[in-house]
Amino acid sequence: MDSRIKNILIVGVGGQGVLLASELLSEAAIMSGLDAKKSEVHGMSQRGGVVTSHVRMGKKVYSPIIPYGQADIVLSFEQAEGLRAIDWLAPQGRMIVSKTRLVPPIANFGKFGYPDDPIGELKKRTPNVIAVDADRMALELGNIRLVNTILLGVASSFLDFKRETWEEAIRTLVKANFVDVNLKAFAQGQTLAAGAVTA
């Protein structure tokens, strides 16, 4: 990995498992001998509001928050939240976005609409979009909560950590009886990313 700081912004909606994904990511970083910091806020915003987690890794990390407009990867658990975070993405950065659509109650009253095609909007702005049907994949694996490891699997293709490191991070942080299915979800994400890049 180069000496530059790598910045990953993870966004989603409260309750989607954003925090576990950022936990796994920073764990993998320190297992690889890097300095790492991550930052997020807890409390009221977690009740169905926007959740963001900043993860930074490199030789020496100062700020736990990513400088605005400098995320190498934005990992979004929800279509519109990916669009909301687009201004954090660095010019050559990658947007990895789940096709999950979570329409908030506020969009039911006419004042605000949920965009028809947030992923299309993203693609208008940057060619570096990988849209993942993570909900369907997770449900096929038997648990909607696997969305986070699937997405992380996709992101892992753009980070230079060894496969064993990721697996060790998952074994360390995921509850024992969910380890196998999470490893499977992670591997599926990785495979999908390989396809997306060559395509």
């Binding site: 920073s26 930052s39 409390g43 009221m44 009740r47 926007v50 407009g69 201004d87 950065g93």
Partner: protein, 594 residues
């Protein structure tokens, strides 16, 4: 050994390594995880959730007086509640070391104000330390306890959301054994009669003079030199942002922020062409530095007093001050999007309560908790929120001024009522107020992540204990009409509230239904909409449930019908109860999603 820890986890670890014997707190974002971690990982420390911060602080004073090292933790506004004992404990001083962690919330991620508690340390005349990352959070807890014993004073460790909730690598050490002392009777020190307190006030001032000398030589206040003409004075999380933006600038890094090392700062100021102060929220350092005659030092005119700083804000301010190019900022055009404010969860019992209050169009004084979200569209049935327990007093005052013809209701949660609602309710009885108090009892401190409280039947350390009975408690305070209702029974809730509001004298309704999320996620078979039966009337939308979304199918007037996301629906039945055409039904087994 190195470990990735949040500031809060690191502070808990620091308490363990420093031989702390007692820790007490009331949960409050961003401080909550400190005590949770102590209870979970370090069972050698007695740890408790107290009913409120004042009690936590007083328990802590007792622990220190008794000779055990003590930590108390609370959010910034919690220190207001504990300010009474704090101000006088500052006079008596300690026996064993005492550290107060104040976790401030710049930008109010989960708070009602963004007060800067460094001023409370100054107000109480106790030293204040400011960590800037997890490692320092751990180290400074230990150091604060040493300072506390050396200078006979409580010490404030002032953290902020970004320090408490950011993770970084921390070096772990072995715990040191701090001997457990005993209480030595010394009424001149511990009984603050006026005659004793006058003497102690003098001691406080003597202590502050010694602490000022200590601050001058403390390695926590350090200068990082690169030979630049610009010098920056900074501390806390702001230090990290400065280092991020200009790693090689001369920095005066403050660790002891009260009292400030003014001699050392003066030397720094005199040896730099220009000096800027970078600190979040109030101009705390800046005021003290300028008041000491260093009037060329600037800060707030560039950095602002509101919200959190960030690498971007610091870069922008340094640009405005004439250093640095304009920061690059966004690489892509931001999108104009709907807001996504926090909402009550699917299945939340408070939803039924607020739907009923909305139906009755009552004036509702509110309080601090998840249910504060009842103020937002579409429920819009909570009309005030000031601080913990304020709903009852607010309702009483409003009723005395406006009368109760329109019906005045105070809503507060179970934990909030036990925190500081009891005295308010006592006032309602004593001063013959005609209000209805609703205790929204979801049997957990929900907003902060599901902590125990005196009515849950369990302690922080996981022991079974006596659970307060709200009905008996309200009766004992003298309320004659006390009843319970299930908030997810819509008709019953409307009827109960209507009846109590129209009854003369104070009354109490306890809405009883556990939180849908904590301690366990409650999921039953989801409900579904029969689209052919749905008229698109939007009554279910008006419950503001995240599981209900507009269908692509429209009604005759072109309005969307409703659908239910089966992965979110908890089967609480509330929407089915309000659906006039009875189009919402229990999902049939074939469509069941596990």
């Amino acid at each position: 050994m190195k470990k990735l820890l949040s500031g809060n986890e690191a502070a808990a670890r620091g308490a363990y390594e420093a031989g702390v014997k007692l820790a007490a707190a009331y949960p409050g974002t961003p401080s909550t995880e400190i005590l949770e971690n102590i209870a979970e990982h370090y069972p050698s420390i007695y740890a408790e959730w107290s009913p409120n911060e004042k009690v936590a602080f007083e328990v802590g004073i007792g622990g220190s007086m008794g000779g055990g090292r003590t930590l108390v933790a609370m959010k910034h506004v919690g220190v207001n509640v504990a300010a009474d004992p704090l101000m006088t404990f500052a006079y008596t001083g300690v026996n064993a070391g005492f550290v107060l962690i104040s976790a401030d919330d710049p930008a109010m991620h989960s708070s009602q104000n963004e007060q800067d508690n460094r001023y409370l340390a100054k107000f109480a005349q106790i030293p204040c330390l400011e960590p800037s990352d997890s490692q320092e959070s751990k180290d400074m807890v230990k150091l604060a306890l040493d300072m506390s014993e050396q200078f006979d004073t409580p010490v404030m460790l002032r953290m902020t959301t970004r320090v408490s909730h950011s993770k970084g690598i921390v070096d772990l050490c072995e715990p040191t054994e701090a001997p457990r002392g005993k209480f030595d009777r010394d009424v001149h020190k511990y009984v603050m009669l006026p005659a004793h307190a006058r003497v102690r006030h003098g001691k406080v001032l003597e202590r502050m003079a010694k602490l000022a000398e200590y601050a001058e030589t403390s390695p926590l206040n350090r200068v990082e030199t690169f030979g630049t003409k610009l010098g920056i004075i900074t501390g806390g999380i702001s230090y990290q942002y400065v280092k991020e933006i200009i790693p090689e600038v001369d920095v005066f890094k403050i660790g002891v922020s009260f009292p400030l090392p003014l001699k050392k700062i003066r030397q720094f100021v005199e040896t730099h062409e220009r000096v800027l102060v970078v600190e979040e929220l109030e101009p705390f350092y800046e005021e003290i530095i300028r008041a000491a005659g260093m009037t060329t030092v600037e800060g707030k005119i560039y950095f602002g007093r509101e919200g959190e700083l960030s690498p971007y804000r610091v870069a922008m301010a340094l640009h405005q001050a004439g250093y640095l190019e304009k920061p690059v900022g966004a690489g892509y055009i931001p999108a104009e999007l709907f807001p996504r404010p926090p909402v009550l969860c699917p299945g939340c019992p408070h939803r039924g309560l607020f739907a009923a209050l909305k139906k009755l169009r009552l004036t509702v004084t509110g309080d601090i908790g998840c249910y504060t979200l009842g103020t937002l569209e579409p429920l819009e049935s909570l009309h005030t929120c000031i601080c913990m327990g304020a709903s009852i007093g607010n309702a009483i005052g409003m009723e005395k001024v406006n009368g109760s013809d329109q019906g005045i209701v105070a809503v507060l949660g179970d934990s909030t009522f036990l925190h500081s609602g009891l005295t308010g309710l006592l006032d309602a009885v004593y001063n013959k107020s005609n209000i209805t108090v609703i205790i929204a009892d979801n049997r957990v401190t929900a907003m902060t992540g599901g902590q125990q409280h005196p009515a849950t039947g369990f302690t922080l350390m996981g022991e079974k204990t006596k659970a307060v009975d709200f009905v008996e408690l309200a009766k004992a305070l003298g309320v004659e009409s006390v009843r319970t209702v299930d908030p997810l029974d819509y008709e019953a809730s409307v009827a109960a509230i209507d009846e109590e509001v129209n009854r003369p004298g104070p009354s109490v309704i306890v809405t009883t239904r556990p939180c849908a999320l904590m301690p366990q996620r409650i999921m039953s078979t989801p409900y579904e909409v029969i689209l052919d039966e749905c008229t698109g009337c939007s009554l279910c939308f008006r419950l503001g449930c995240p599981a209900i979304y507009p269908s692509k199918e429209l009604n005759k007037r072109g309005k969307p019908k409703a659908e239910i996301d089966p992965t979110l629906c908890t089967g609480c039945t509330l929407c089915a109860q309000v659906c006039k055409p009875e189009a919402i039904v229990l999902t049939q087994p074939a469509g069941k999603i596990k």
